[in-house]
Symmetry: C2
Subunit: 104 residues, 2 copies
DNA sequence: TTTATATGAAACCTTTTGGTATTACGTCAA
DNA sequence: TTGACGTAATACCAAAAGGTTTCATATAAA
């Protein structure tokens, strides 16, 4: 699996913000663009990069394009991070409890 | 905490490779450079980016600079990833077992 | 059918990035 | 002290990245 496009997609703050937004709700390009101080064309470029990185899926609905967060796209990043066992070992409990707390 | 420099540092494949190398052994700039087909100056730039991202620490030892992996530098990335609870929920068991297996 | 809307796509611009080459500086060893 | 060595710093270059503008196309609505 080619992880480079995924890491590249996450390297930009705007794209990370888009992902956080899409995490809770699917959105059209125009809807995403409303949240940023840039043109729709620029936002569309970011969405393309996110799609190339496998982090979102895009489906057509009439003349609109529905962008949705794709959790599975995170896999390459997670796989890479598992190289750092000691780090994860220290952090795993914190992470787990954070998730469990959030699931309350 | 400013996470942008950390995400940026991880966006380049050469820098990720350097991190994997430093994970098991501290190295001077020249030692790191031996493993890549580029000049020491280029490698040094990558090390500077990694340092800016908090992913490595650098200490002087005579005329040499010892570069060491800094696990704590991963924190911003991990913190950001915890936004995606559902994803982590699906993957947590796999990750945990992978780590436990590796610790054998 | 006309017209407005949502997106796609290309051309263009500026800044950043990844790389080289060159030069200077501090340190170790003979 | 005199080189040799490891690194720092600078100038420079090509390509990629992030953005805008403009125009074309497809669909929705009047």
């Amino acid at each position: 699996m080619e992880s480079q496009p995924t890491f590249r997609a996450l390297a930009d703050a705007t794209r990370r913000d888009i992902l956080v937004m899409l995490r809770s709700k699917e959105m059209t390009i125009a809807e995403v663009a409303e949240n940023f101080d840039m043109t729709r064309a620029a936002v569309k470029k970011h969405l393309t990069v996110l799609s190339d990185g496998g982090l979102i899926t895009v489906r057509a609905q009439g003349r609109e394009r529905i962008n949705a967060f794709n959790p599975a796209g995170m896999a390459p990043v997670l796989d890479w991070l598992t190289f750092f066992d000691a780090f994860w070992d220290d952090r795993l409990n914190d992470l787990k409890s954070a998730i469990e707390k959030d699931a309350t």
